[in-house]
Symmetry: C2
Subunit: 515 residues, 2 copies
């Protein structure tokens, strides 16, 4: 006879790549989100909350093929439709901007904050669900919209606790990048665009764009320029020409440009000067033969001068030609917030914290739905990275004081214990009665310890009769408290007897003394 | 030759049963969530945020069968595992309490707030994603834990703006319900449990539980009792006996109990007296032959007396035998928050708003994972319903004032316009420069109107030269503003000229005048 198999118990585990957030981790993130929301609100952005679930069709990019859609998103079929969890907050914005285009204000300025999901291989510190916090202006082509996003990003970083000097917002333009591609590649053609008529300029721009489209090396060059931060001037030069050996000794193929062309790119990457004015002068010189490039430079000039007029100088927001930010997606100014302080990584090496936010101008998202291009610009803050940065700097500790714990010495006096916590809560002090089995007093103290309680309150029959309570400062007594007997506990100097009537006043004093 | 089909544009639509939340809808919900979190925190509950995605195995209840799991959840297969969106916040808590049982404080008191997803047929006002806001104490068998949740629920409702008198928290006990089932069914057996020894009582309780387990009519009776609010005394009586015709005239089969037994249930449902004391006295009388029932009554007595000692009297928290709250899940006290004011439904009929929160004691969730029963009690607030209630009462309007809009009369003065909004933001006043195409001034005013801006600021060359700006009170001038020409606009009495230097002071005055 076959043995009956007992049903296996379910495993109590999060799915791979997901995690739980406890206590102060949640509170600190919520606090940061509301600080960010406050700045976004001051700038006139309006909240939008879309559902976690979108149709795969509306999300775009990932289309269902046979049984299941491509990797990258979590998707499933539901009544014949493919649904998916959003992978960012921009795709849902594009859908909303198209769906409600007749009702929304124009420009539509919205912020959104919430989790997004990526069906990617998880790694250390890389999870499949994480928070983003975006603000976008849809329907404005003005560089003032880009400038404003940069200023807001600066204000936001300071609002959440990154002091001035510990961050920099680097601004570049996709047009400048495209311009340098055409002007370096076509270095021989010295067209003086400054002297062209408007019609000639327009023709020349079309000619440039066509060249750009047909340039087979374009993506490889962009990707190489994007490595400047990591591999430096020589690294980029080698990768643009014959190739180089990386740190592991492996040989990385180069793009096989001529040395002269590679020099042109390297000159461009190093065009950042001591001030935004100097950088812009360098860019004007380098890009003087590109109509696209000069358009980008003019936009950057406008952005820099608007920001300077508002007091955002190059100590906060800096024009930096080496910012690339991915491929294809952006169409105008791009920006990136970088934290400039060093942290020590798990191997004890010092390194710059790096990027915590980025964005730029993009014009094609709404077009997918409506056929009409709508100019848009926006930023996305990586909230979890920003929290990690504040923790690395010791400005948040992922811990927070627990409630005052009123211990239970006498089960029959539960109502009186509840009255004590009631008074404390009325005074705005988090408090609770110990609700586990009160038999083992040590367990009550261990509990208070685990909750990081600042104060424990003790009142037995004897104290009750005398109208007093014992209050124990657990911050002072934390270590001794563990495993202490009631007698040891009572002998600690951090414990005092106070009048029952003074409970709130005395505990408030203890809490304020800690700060 | 076959015609080439143009690729169809994606539809800009939310999936069926999902929706977007705009502006004040989001802000009001966030405000409510943080008001609730504040009360929960004061009561010593610690935040927990789990991922939206769980394994189907951990969620339980819905197990994958063949190609796709049962209805009810959104689920999909990923690398051989079935994953699903959480359908409530209790199942993830059970998983966390099991997974981290060695590290968490005991009792573990956590709150959680966030969206949950139900794969159910959407209906008017019923969405497939909605918010819940839960607080639970895991690891405490004490009725004090239940009493505390009720007190906290009361405080929470008042904190979000439901005044005392507009709500009531109704408390019952699953043990009392089970007790009435055994004592009405076994009405003939008059066992005087008050005189039993502890051993006799325990035997009798086992006997009662066995009878309950074997009672084929149990679920049907519970379901019928749960209809008391809707069909009243006669309705329940008929449904317990031979059946009745519902409003549409259709005949609903009855449970076919004897009239005498049905009378017993009806007496129980009406056992609520003028005060909790009276109700408890009634319950003691009705349940005097049931060991289970009397255990439930004693727990309710403890809860009522703890609450009364803290000043929560029957104007706020009331023992009510007619609360049933579903089947099977709960094992002890159950509670439900009901809003008692009337609203007018879409057909103009007045009706009570009804339930906005509920919960109770349950002991089996963690057991699925660990084999050990862990006592737990908790509450879930339906945030979206509570928001709807506040809107129905006119205490929230789903609208909020937009930013001050600085219009663009002169493109070249963008820096100065930006400086104005910078000053306003510094003073904590949301503000923005109009970033659309400034050519059509009417569009700028329409924009301000759509944003519900309280004030528009206008400064052309002329005003700039004289060091003044025009400020327009849009709340007063909203209607006239639409489609007005610049000349008409300027003639409105709601528009004034002020010194540029007084911008912040004057606008603050205008905003405060409105409040």
């Amino acid at each position: 006879m076959a043995k009956d198999k007992k049903p296996r118990r379910p495993r109590a585990e999060t799915p791979k790549g997901f995690r739980d957030y406890f206590g102060a981790e949640v509170a600190e993130r919520n606090q940061m989100l509301s600080q960010i929301a406050e700045v976004y609100h001051l700038y006139g952005f309006d909240p939008l909350e879309t559902a976690a679930v979108e149709t795969v069709e509306a999300l775009g990019k990932y289309l269902p093929d046979v049984d299941r859609p491509n990797e990258g998103v979590f998707a499933w079929e539901e009544d014949g439709d493919w649904l998916a969890l959003r992978y960012d907050l921009t795709a849902p914005l594009a859908r909303v901007a198209a769906q409600f285009r007749n009702d929304l204000p124009n420009p539509y300025r919205r912020y959104a904050m919430g989790p997004v999901w990526r069906n990617e291989k998880p790694g250390p510190g890389r999870y499949r669900q994480f928070y983003q916090c975006d603000a976008d202006t849809v329907g404005s082509a003005s560089p003032a919209a880009d400038a404003e996003i940069c200023a807001m990003l600066s204000d936001t970083l300071e609002a959440v606790g990154i002091p001035r000097g510990d961050y920099v917002i680097r601004v570049n333009s996709r047009k400048v990048l495209n311009g340098v591609l055409t002007s370096v590649t076509r270095g021989a053609e010295r067209n003086d665009i400054e002297r062209m008529t408007a019609a000639e300029l327009s023709d020349y721009k079309t000619f440039e764009l066509k060249g750009l489209e047909e340039d087979p090396a374009k993506d490889a060059i962009m990707r190489t320029l994007d490595k400047f931060d990591k591999v430096g001037v020589d690294g980029v030069f080698n990768l643009l020409t014959g190739g180089r050996h990386d740190q592991s000794g492996a040989f990385i193929d180069g793009v096989n440009l001529s040395d002269e062309m590679a020099k042109g790119y390297v000159e461009f990457l190093q065009a950042r000067g001591q001030s935004n004015e100097e950088t812009l002068a360098n860019l004007r010189r380098i890009l003087r033969f590109s109509a696209i490039g000069m358009e980008g430079v003019h936009e950057l000039e406008t952005i820099a001068s608007l920001l300077a007029a508002q007091g955002y100088d190059s100590d906060r927001i800096v024009i930096d030609p080496s910012v690339v930010r991915g491929l294809g997606y952006y169409t105008g100014p791009v920006y990136e917030a970088e934290l400039t302080f060093e942290i020590t990584d798990e191997k004890g090496r010092k390194q710059q914290f790096g990027s915590v936010a980025g964005g730029g101008r993009y014009d094609d998202l709404v077009k997918r739905f409506t056929g009409q291009a709508v100019p848009a610009t926006g930023v996305s803050i990586g909230v979890d990275r920003l929290l990690a940065a504040l923790r690395a700097k010791g400005r948040m500790d992922g811990k927070s004081a627990g409630p005052v714990v009123v211990t239970v010495m006498d089960r029959n006096r539960m109502a009186e214990y509840q009255a004590m916590v009631g008074e404390l809560r009325q005074a705005g002090i988090p408090a609770e009665v110990y609700l586990g089995n009160p038999k083992n007093f040590g367990n009550q103290l261990k509990y208070a310890d685990k909750r990081l309680s600042p104060v424990a309150v003790i009142q037995g029959e004897d104290e009750a009769a005398r109208g007093v309570v014992q209050v124990k400062d657990l911050v002072l007594g934390a270590k001794i408290a563990e495993n202490a007997s009631l007698e040891e506990w009572k002998s600690q100097p951090a414990q005092r007897e106070i009048a029952r009537a003074d409970l709130v006043v005395e505990i408030r004093k203890m809490l304020e003394g800690e700060v």
